[in-house]
Symmetry: C2
Subunit: 172 residues, 2 copies
């Protein structure tokens, strides 16, 4: 396992997230409702709506790639309101994380990571990736998927994993 | 990053999942409804209920540890119907995966993994862990969490990650 393999997987999941949003738009058109209603949907009144789930997933991936490579993450302000804007946000995060190569993360596991919200404390790179970035990233993409499923968007497990057929896994 | 670090993280998340179920029981008692109503709750009519989400999370963790160490996974039949039974299922999976040590996974990344559902095909150990086990594991724990949140169980992000205070992350 390498850090790069995990970051590459985040990029794949961001592609999948984009495909779920496209399925949401198609569902809205078929049912004749405004697709942007989905952007404000949530599973509990005190939980993030789809907008913030997507923004948070993008940030979890972006910051993991930045911190573990020693780069400064690009700024992506949380201004999105529509599904189209969310898709553009995903594309920015996806392109950023997909641009990293294996050597960019050399020594990343031992790097001390100090996100602003830790207020001066730091955490080791490996612990950051395994215990913070990955749980948070999957939390937000899965909750986004759950919001869409709860609202009737026709999605299944193959869409979550992003495989067209289970056969193709044999080539991984 | 090591395979062992990821498997250890699965064990932590199973502990967290157990704590969410305990919060669900406490919520049911406070609201005077049968806690086992939660076991059959789901977010969409054609999605797994909480019971199967928990069973699937347990299996994702168990099989990843077994396949990548070359062991045969213990059999845990899907017989659970109550929250108490789900907690016992989690304990079995948690104890199994927490019992592995770093050397158990030596060479695991290069091992070919051939789950029964792949019908004779196989996938490399690293790809199995990064592209199948981890997305599936977090899919099921997050959906379990989402089902509980949707049903009013008072949980927050710190419960998901399993930290009592954000301060403690500075020691990781």
């Amino acid at each position: 396992m390498s850090i790069h393999a995990t970051i590459t997987q985040y990029a794949r999941m961001l592609d999948n997230l984009d495909a779920w949003l496209q399925a949401g738009v198609a569902h809205a058109e078929a049912k004749k409702f405004d697709p942007d209603v989905l952007a404000q949907a949530r599973l509990a009144p005190d939980q993030y709506a789809l907008v913030q789930q997507v923004q948070s997933a993008c940030d979890a991936a972006k910051y993991a790639a930045a911190y573990l490579s020693g780069q400064t993450a690009p700024s992506h302000p949380d201004t999105e309101k529509t599904v189209a804007e969310l898709r553009a946000r995903i594309a920015k995060a996806r392109d950023y994380v997909a641009g990293f190569k294996e050597p960019d993360f050399a020594g990343g596991g031992e790097r001390r990571v100090a996100p602003a919200w830790m207020q001066g404390k730091s955490v080791g790179g490996d612990a950051y990736l395994t215990r913070i970035a990955t749980p948070n990233f999957y939390f937000h993409v899965t909750t986004a998927y759950a919001i869409l499923r709860h609202n009737g968007v026709p999605l299944g497990k193959a869409d979550f994993v992003g495989v067209k057929s289970w056969e193709e896994i044999g080539d991984w």
